[in-house]
Amino acid sequence: MIMTFSILIVDDSKPMRSVIKKTFRAAGYGSSDFLEAGNGLEALERLQESWVDIVISDYTMPEMNGLALLQAMKQDDLFRAIPVVVITTEGSKQRIDQFMASGAAGYIKKPFTPEQVRDMITTILGESNEDVDTDDDDFDF
């Protein structure tokens, strides 16, 4: 039986949300349900509506950024157990320490490769048991 997950992608850029979905499919999570939000506030609304297994969030967004979303989730009894991975262009050590100290399950720096995303996600969700059309460890989006 194929394990499927519910994955919430939070980014104000539609192209970036497409790229992240593509990356998940390439990593073997293509049967999962993908929910999308354009900022932290929309993400909290999605979380009220549906259970998700993991949140993948950008940092810089209008209305509510990724750090504020992470902090809001960690203060909520229902949402605090949901792992949050921050995908960000912010590469400073101080900022990354801030994400991790706020409870992020991990972070991925842009630009990223599909392998980096796959490695992070399998660490958190476990290995996908879907068939993936890859050539050894190298695969394209």
């Binding site: 850029s13 497409s18 790229v19 590469g91 720096k109 630009p111 989006f141």
Partner: protein
């Protein structure tokens, strides 16, 4: 006025190859006029504050931006709209800026603004600045520091 140009070039190369599958080409004698004087252009700026304060800008030829968007989103050219192109350019500049600052000084925090599409960018600002060539077209890049509490490597 300082610039981040040398590091920006490295960041453009990494972002273009990793996210857009467009390796840069070596081309002698490319200049900004070649980019700015050819057909439809798309421009975007991003401001930044913190350890460094200033602006970065990108101007891309439309065929290049179409190829970038197509590769990025994995959708056919016919299905792409103006918003897709603009958001792709914004995301590209956002990644280039973030990547650039993490190379210049990984210990510094720089707050990036939201990238803005510019319909009336003063192209003369780009004179003498970076030109990047790919198989699909060219883009020009500009970085200007108006303030810094750090010493950018390679400036």
């Amino acid at each position: 006025m300082k610039t981040l140009t040398p590091t920006m070039m490295t960041s453009i190369s990494e972002v273009m190859e990793t996210m857009f599958f467009l390796p840069l080409e070596e081309k002698e004698g490319s200049n900004v006029e070649e980019v700015l004087g050819s057909g439809s252009l798309h421009a975007c700026t991003i401001s930044f504050t913190g350890a460094f304060t200033g602006t970065m800008a990108l101007v891309a030829q439309e065929p290049l931006l179409l190829a970038m968007t197509e590769n990025f989103m994995g959708e056919t050219r016919e299905s792409l709209g103006q918003t897709d192109l603009e958001e792709t350019l914004q995301e590209a500049l956002n990644m280039i800026a973030g990547n650039c600052f993490s190379k210049v000084d990984p210990d510094s925090v720089v707050d990036l603004g939201v990238p803005q599409i510019e319909n009336t960018l003063d192209h003369t600002l780009f004179q003498g600045h970076l030109v990047v060539v790919t198989t699909e077209g060219m883009l020009a890049a500009l970085s200007t520091l108006t303030g810094t509490s750090r010493n950018p490597k390679g400036s």
